[in-house]
Amino acid sequence: AMLDPERGLSLTIARVVQRLQGSSLHSQLERQARVSLHKPEIKLESLKEDIKDFLKTSGWEKKLQNAVYSELNVFPSPCHPAAPPEHIKEPLAYMRKAQGSWEKRILKSLNSMCTELNIPLAQKRPVNEQKELLNKWNEMGTDEPDLSLFRPVYAPKDFLEVLMNLRNPNYENGEQPSFRNHLGLIQVPLKVKDIPELKEDFSELGLNIGQLGIDDSAQVPPEFFENEHVRIGQKVLAEQDSAAAQQYVRQGCPTALRADLWALILNISNQPEDILYYEQLKSNVIQHDLLVDSLIYKDVKLTASNDDYYFVFEDYLYQVLLCFSRDTSVLEHFTYSSATPPKSYIQGKLGMEEYAVFYPPNGMINYNSFILSVAPLCFLYHEPSKLYQIFREMYVRFFFRLHSISSHPSGIVSLCLLFETLLQTHLPQLFYHLREIGAQPLRISFKWMVRAFSGYLATDQLLLLWDRILGYNSLEILAVLAAAVFAFRAVNLMEVTSLAAAEAVLADLSTLKVMPLLQIFLFATVT
């Protein structure tokens, strides 16, 4: 149901106010206002105006602006006030149903593993074990627990199968002939953008606009673009303006400024209470052992420990993920995610709501897919609580959409469809050829997108790509890049005759330069 803009605006305002009320920012603003009463420039006759001016000049108004901006970025626009909460999670009923079935399946897998191994989902750690864990908190990577019996709850391949089987029961084949011709793996009629629309959305990536990742290369004198861009970046940081930062990073972040720019966009300031919260999570980890911890260990060992770049940060990954699994504030994101956290019941009280808890505390079971999304952040942040907050915010803003079934334009289903559509429309020969030889392109590119390319690109290139995710507040660029990679290697791909050979051509992305690829695909390819 469409909402008139004014009604939508007031609903949005009401929601933002409700969310910020009672936050630490709110109490800090109140305190600042009270403190300002002692200042000579605050006069009783013009109290309200004077305080407002004071908050502006002291930078507090900017902090409030950033917080509001952050809320607007994260939460979707409100729908009709009569719409039930599940519509905010996911408006399409069949998608909700599919996500529900998928979750049931995962939970079943987890529970059976539990029963098989006779391990409780959670138990309190004995005191000596607690001490031991505290001592080796910074080097959990050297631990070698026996993980042979644990298996990841699901593999990316399983998830892809589920997405391939999605069908809209209300959809009749005859209605949209263009979609009937869709020959990819995804068979649901979601609306995705075409290249003209993408060109508009990603206009800052155009050929006439300077980019980091292109115009800072060795052959280009820095006076052309790089120096000025760095100067602007420093200014944006000095002003502490989230919105400006988000606009700025569309052209890429200078390496020295990236950590601060991302923190500004994500509105992370690492206040004392944030550090305290992290320490609290850490002590939760020490005190209680969760089954999911073993799954985390296993997943880290399988993914990051063997990576050329990320192996160094193995220990940080354990710290971040173990804390993450205990973080109940993550439950908040389920209001706008199509996923629902699994519930567990105290032993013997199955089905009794008063004995239900979310398991694990943050509602997330499978870590395999997003461990690699923590690792690149270790290149930017080496203070644990800041690293943690940045990761958490990145997850609840972006990466969660890669692991749940939804109709959101940045959801994995839309990304897959966008990728396939781009490929089929603009490289039809390649698409048909690969399909003919049993190498549906999505089978290869799925793992790239579901991991936001982490573990496939060189780190500096990955960071340039994620600059744009933050800048455009969307994951669509992942699908565009995936298509651009296929376009880049089209000549070799046309010559392969099997899925394995196609995989081989696309096995090594570590030498790719993402920005030229994106630019050429969007702006320099004749359509």
Partner: protein, 426 residues
């Protein structure tokens, strides 16, 4: 019967595929040592024989070898330190600004080797220094060994009682070089990444010492310790924590064969720029280039600058947590064994680029050539210092070469600035 004239004839006593594949791909012909050869990639034992008084022989104009006769002036730990100390004193004597000292008497620009003494000869001097800092840790290294063999740490004088005894014996006792040790102050505040200690391995090619012409390989790497670094004294005996030589690390329980605990230098650069900022990172890399060039200048006067020779050194450098680089040692025969697939590729390319510079056009060499290769053949090397070019220019020439992004991140910026007065370097 093919006419072989015109093809380079090669010999080696190091059976490594990265070498042999490179020779074969150039169409060179393998011959035996006693035959006529043009190119001999030899081990350090062999070079000793070639240039020794008893067994040595003259090399002809069309013969090239991969070591300088007395490379040990740089590559033996005790001689390297001796030459650097001598160099500094000479600069001080001539009043050079390079030899400037700070208020604590430390060289501002030339303090890049950790305090080192020879044992047993300098035992008493060492004790004096040790007592100034009794809680310090020192690392004992045998002068003549490589790959981390025979190295151990001490933090108590009693642990090196043996050398105290030896120093008191008659001064006519000749110490065979096998028993001589150097003892250096251990860098106990290394820069840690992910909580792990690492060192830098950089490759430097020297084609001539007088005039000094040297190249740095852009694709150096960091070698990480597999076990978490802790400065605690109980860990002193755990060599896996402290030593970063791959040969030792390979046997640690945690050693991972897929990545071999290495990072490229560009990764390091990305990490440092992102977490510490661009200026301090640039400063660090400038300093690293600086200390390499200074170490070469220090030994240049005593090096036998035989025109048949070139040499590819493996420099080991440790960065401390104040981002100061320290020269630990220089290897004459950097390992050509590969621990991973990436490693194999790197070493293959290293040899390839080295041969392109040392043996121009892959043709039979003439050792009298000017040793000035054109820029196109440098490959992944960049000019680190060219004394001839530096002296021919008047003003400081700041050649900021920003190398290609083969790994996507700008590599080290080698400066080719001439004058020792360091407006560009410091």
């Amino acid at each position: 019967f093919r006419i072989m004239a015109g093809k380079v004839k090669w010999v080696t006593d190091i059976e490594k595929s990265v070498l042999i594949n490179n020779f074969e791909k150039r169409g060179w012909i393998q011959v035996a040592e006693n035959e006529d050869w043009n190119f001999y990639w030899m081990s350090v034992q062999t070079i000793r024989n070639v240039f020794s008084v008893e067994t040595g022989y003259r090399l002809s104009d069309d013969q090239i070898v991969n070591h300088f006769p007395n490379h040990y002036e740089l590559t033996r730990k005790d001689l390297m330190v001796k030459n650097i100390k001598r160099y500094r004193k000479e600069l001080e004597k001539e009043g050079s600004p390079l030899a400037e000292k700070d208020e604590n008497g430390k060289y501002i620009y030339l303090d890049f080797v950790p305090v080192t003494f020879m044992l047993p000869a300098d035992y008493n001097l060492f004790v004096e220094e040790f007592r100034k800092n009794p809680s310090s840790t020192w690392i004992m290294k045998p002068c003549g060994k490589a790959q981390g063999k025979g190295i151990f740490l001490i933090n108590k004088l009693s642990q090196i009682k043996k050398w105290s005894r030896d120093s008191k014996t008659s001064s006519f006792v000749s110490q065979s070089s096998k028993e001589a040790y150097v003892i250096s102050l251990y860098i106990n505040n290394p820069l840690l990444i992910g909580g792990k200690k690492f060192d830098l391995r950089l490759y430097v090619l020297v084609s001539t010492y007088r005039p000094l012409r040297c190249y740095m390989y852009k694709l150096g790497f960091c070698r990480f310790c597999t076990v978490k670094y802790t400065p605690s004294t109980s860990e002193l005996d755990n060599m896996f924590v402290h030593l970063t030589n791959v040969a030792i690390q390979k046997h640690g329980d945690d050693y991972n064969h897929i990545h071999g605990g290495k990072w490229t230098v560009s990764n390091l650069r990305l990490y440092l720029e992102s977490t510490r900022g661009k200026e301090v990172t640039n400063k660090l890399f400038d300093e690293i280039h600086w200390i390499i060039v200074q170490s070469l200048k220090a030994v240049a006067p005593v090096m036998n600058n035989d025109k048949h020779c070139f040499e590819c050194y493996g420099y080991d450098i440790i960065i401390d947590d104040k981002l100061k680089p320290w020269l630990i040692e220089v290897n004459a025969s950097p390992s050509l064994t590969s621990s991973t697939a990436n490693d194999r590729i790197l070493k293959y390319n290293l040899i390839n680029d080295t041969l392109n510079i040392a043996v121009p056009n892959g043709e039979i060499p003439d050792c009298k050539w000017n040793k000035s290769p054109p820029k196109e053949v440098l490959g992944n090397y960049e000019v680190l210092y060219d004394e001839e070019m530096a002296q021919s220019d008047g003003p400081d020439r700041d050649l900021r070469s920003r190398p290609g992004q083969s790994t996507g991140v700008k590599g080290s910026r080698a400066r080719d600035s001439g004058k020792p007065v360091l407006t560009t370097w410091k």
